[in-house]
Subunit: 222 residues, 2 copies
């Protein structure tokens, strides 16, 4: 059986779980706590990070960049990158936007400060970083609204890895209660469409001990 | 003519310049100063970041993830990702290692603090960050040595995007004079082999006003 080593509150792990479901590929989930630096995880990925995919034949694919591209190369059905070079370039531009820029400007300031810092034994949260994260997210929600006013999905006419990368990041921030959906109607409508896809269901059912999501989090008509 | 918008001291821009040369693809270089947020660059890439590739036919590919994959898909000759799924997974794992982990642990602490902070108008350097960057680079040089004791190149038997991503990062830190090559002989031997490739020549000839590289920087027998 295919296995995915993941951490349920990590956007990059969520991104691969959603991609697997969109491609109708089953995987057994192994929950990792990367801050524990478990030997078994370090052997699979010397960076000690999730996600790591282990295929039944023994192939190990480590990291969301390698896994994301591998799944598209190995399983042609339900393609998520786009059909032509322009579509693929646009999908990948936006995947990097959310995986790198959103991660750096929003997720590190909120998920890291509010939750991961404690788990990694790095002390209490930095309130300045939390303020920066809450300010930065508005620019990203505006950008999502701008894109969805012009396109059916973020990368173009088809649902793609761009939507998955964006929704994976936002879902974690939404879990923390830090997304002001009411001020960003178009972004909210787009997210409601992503949320209602079967590939998103398992993500929304996950909870993290000691941190409960707000009531609207798993509600498809939020 | 193909055009590459780049910033000569940015590892991600260097990575694409080297990849283009390895694939024998010509490109006219347009030097950008991303901190100036030039309208023309923002139109090509809303993130305002280099590198951006503009193909003669009008296709725009923004960001090193999208460009790196695009060049491998569009130009099959001189492949740099590896032939089979395992080789490709290993190449991409290492590209992410250097583009994300090395960037976060070393380059942001050294290039950003010593040079970019001033250019972005963010004040003087943080000496704690510089100390952290200098400590962290040792772990990465040890890892390069460990890999090259076991393999011909970082990702396996063939020169690949993994070598390019690693050397692009290291070349910038070496420009700043912060690589202790003498304590890391195997990493040094690997870097000397990368440096002697024709694809690296133009990179080593670049200088940045007000910051001179150490004497060994462009020396192939350093």
């Amino acid at each position: 059986m295919r296995t995915l080593h993941h951490f349920s509150l990590q956007p990059q792990s969520r991104r691969i779980r959603i991609q697997l479901r969109e491609k109708k590929l089953d995987a057994e989930l192994v929950a990792e706590k990367p801050w524990e630096r478990r030997d078994g995880l370090l052997r699979l990925n010397p960076a000690g990070e999730t996600p790591v995919l282990a295929e039944e034949g023994g192939l190990i694919v480590a990291g969301c960049y390698a896994i994301g591209e591998y799944l598209e190369e190995a399983y042609a059905e339900n393609p998520l990158l786009g059909a032509d070079p322009a579509a693929r370039a646009e999908t990948r531009r936006l995947v990097a936007w959310f995986d790198d820029k959103f991660e750096r400007e929003v997720t590190r300031n909120l998920l890291h400060e509010k939750l991961l810092r404690r788990l990694y034994g790095q002390g209490g949260p930095d309130s300045g970083a939390i303020r920066a994260g809450k300010a930065n997210i508005k620019i990203h929600l505006d950008y999502i609204s701008w894109l969805t006013e012009r396109r059916n999905w973020l990368g173009g006419n088809s649902f793609s890895l761009a939507d998955i990368a964006a929704a994976a990041q936002l879902s974690v921030i939404d879990y923390l209660g830090d997304v002001d959906w009411e001020s960003h109607g178009d972004a909210k409508n787009w997210y409601a469409r992503v949320k209602s896809r079967p590939s998103f269901r398992a993500i929304l059912a996950d909870t993290w001990p000691g941190t409960q999501p707000p009531p609207h989090y798993a509600d498809l008509d939020f």
